[in-house]
């Protein structure tokens, strides 16, 4: 349970930035 909490919290902290990187790449590609 503890590991699960740490895993979820870590994802909440880190993944938006990761997703954003890909999303921005996609938008840039579309713009190009």
């Amino acid at each position: 349970f503890d590991e699960l909490i740490v895993e979820i919290a870590t994802r909440r902290k880190q993944w938006p930035k990761k997703i954003l990187v890909h999303a921005i790449q996609t938008m840039k590609a579309e713009q190009e």
């Binding site: 994802r11 938006p16 997703i19 999303a23 921005i24 938008m27 579309e30 713009q31």
Partner: protein
């Protein structure tokens, strides 16, 4: 700050633990040994207490280093300080990542939208110009056809 509170609370814990485990209590539990060796009992107790305190302090320091607690506490103090004017409860993750990610994406999507609007407007303006020249071209062709027709009729 949090670091200060943390240290104070741990020290208080230690003090109270030592107070609870007093020499009287120690000597009364080890009565048989105490009767035989009272001085030694006292020095064993003193060593016991100092060893326990040293180990616990060392452990606390290790936990602080491991978790970088000092740094985290001070940055959390700052974050809390910055939010002191905030009355109502702040946002918290909803538990639905797809929804929570919306705000993260929004500023970039808005930028993307304005880029698309600008590109579309430029394209429309450009096309308007090209359309005008196409219309002019059509008129020119119609004119040429009429001219040719007139000349041809004349010849005819």
């Amino acid at each position: 700050g949090r670091a200060q509170v943390f240290a104070t609370v741990v020290n208080t814990f230690l003090e109270k633990l030592v107070t609870a485990g007093s020499y009287q209590r120690f000597a009364s539990c080890y009565r048989c040994f105490y009767k035989l060796q009272p001085q030694l009992t006292r020095s064993i107790y003193d060593q016991f207490i100092s060893q326990l305190q040293a180990s616990i302090k060392e452990e606390i320091q290790e936990v602080k280093n491991e978790g970088n607690l000092e740094g985290l506490f001070s940055s959390l103090d700052k974050i809390v300080e910055e939010a002191k004017d905030q009355e109502e409860p702040a946002w918290r993750p909803s538990g639905i990542p797809e929804e929570d990610i919306c705000s993260t994406m929004l500023p970039y999507l808005l930028k993307h939208r304005s880029h698309l609007c600008r590109a579309l407007r430029e394209k429309e303006e450009q096309n308007t110009k090209v359309a005008e020249s196409v219309l002019m071209g059509r008129d020119r062709i119609a004119e040429l056809q009429q001219l040719i027709q007139a000349r041809q009729q004349a010849w005819q």
